[in-house]
């Protein structure tokens, strides 16, 4: 039964051919509309000497009833 299913050429040898049709800014817009959480640790170092540590737990999302703005007006910024 599974034999008649054609294997989708996902692992084709050559890389993705041709640019993906969507401009990156539209992808970012959709990501924001869905909402994304970025969490992680960054260390900025020079010559293997760690200087600055950045610890991220960021929610990036459009404001909607699902993700309300923390304060009513535009806020301080």
């Amino acid at each position: 039964m599974a034999a008649d299913r054609a294997v989708v050429p996902w692992d084709s040898a050559e890389p993705l051919s041709g640019p993906i049709g969507v401009p990156l800014v539209d992808l970012l817009d959709r990501v924001l509309a869905t909402g994304v959480v970025v969490s992680g640790d960054l260390v900025i170092a020079i010559a293997d000497v760690p200087l600055v540590r950045v610890s991220l737990h960021a929610l990036l999302s459009s404001v909607s009833e699902r993700v309300p703005a923390p304060w009513a007006d535009g806020g301080p910024l």
Binding site: L16, P19, I20, P23, L24, S62
Partner: protein
């Protein structure tokens, strides 16, 4: 060399401007904004667009210079 730096900065600003423009459109479509807010958002975005064009002319940067080609990923901004 200075012009490339200006082009890069203007590219980032243009990216954020277009992103905010799309987010504003989504928010307006939600319909929970008053007419006055919608009008203000529209005016602000229009002024921002004009200011962006002035900056590009001022530094001799063509609009298509702002668009980066990301190879297999396509382009950064739409090729309008």
């Amino acid at each position: 060399m200075g012009r490339d730096l200006v082009a890069l900065v203007l590219t980032v600003v243009e990216l954020l401007r277009q992103l905010m423009e799309r987010q504003a459109i989504r928010r307006v479509e939600q319909g929970d904004l008053s007419d006055e807010q919608v009008e203000e958002i529209g005016t602000t975005l229009m002024l921002l667009d004009q200011r962006m064009k002035e900056l590009c002319d001022q530094h001799g940067v063509r609009p298509e210079d702002l668009n980066l080609d990301l190879g297999p990923l396509g382009t950064l901004l739409p090729r309008d």
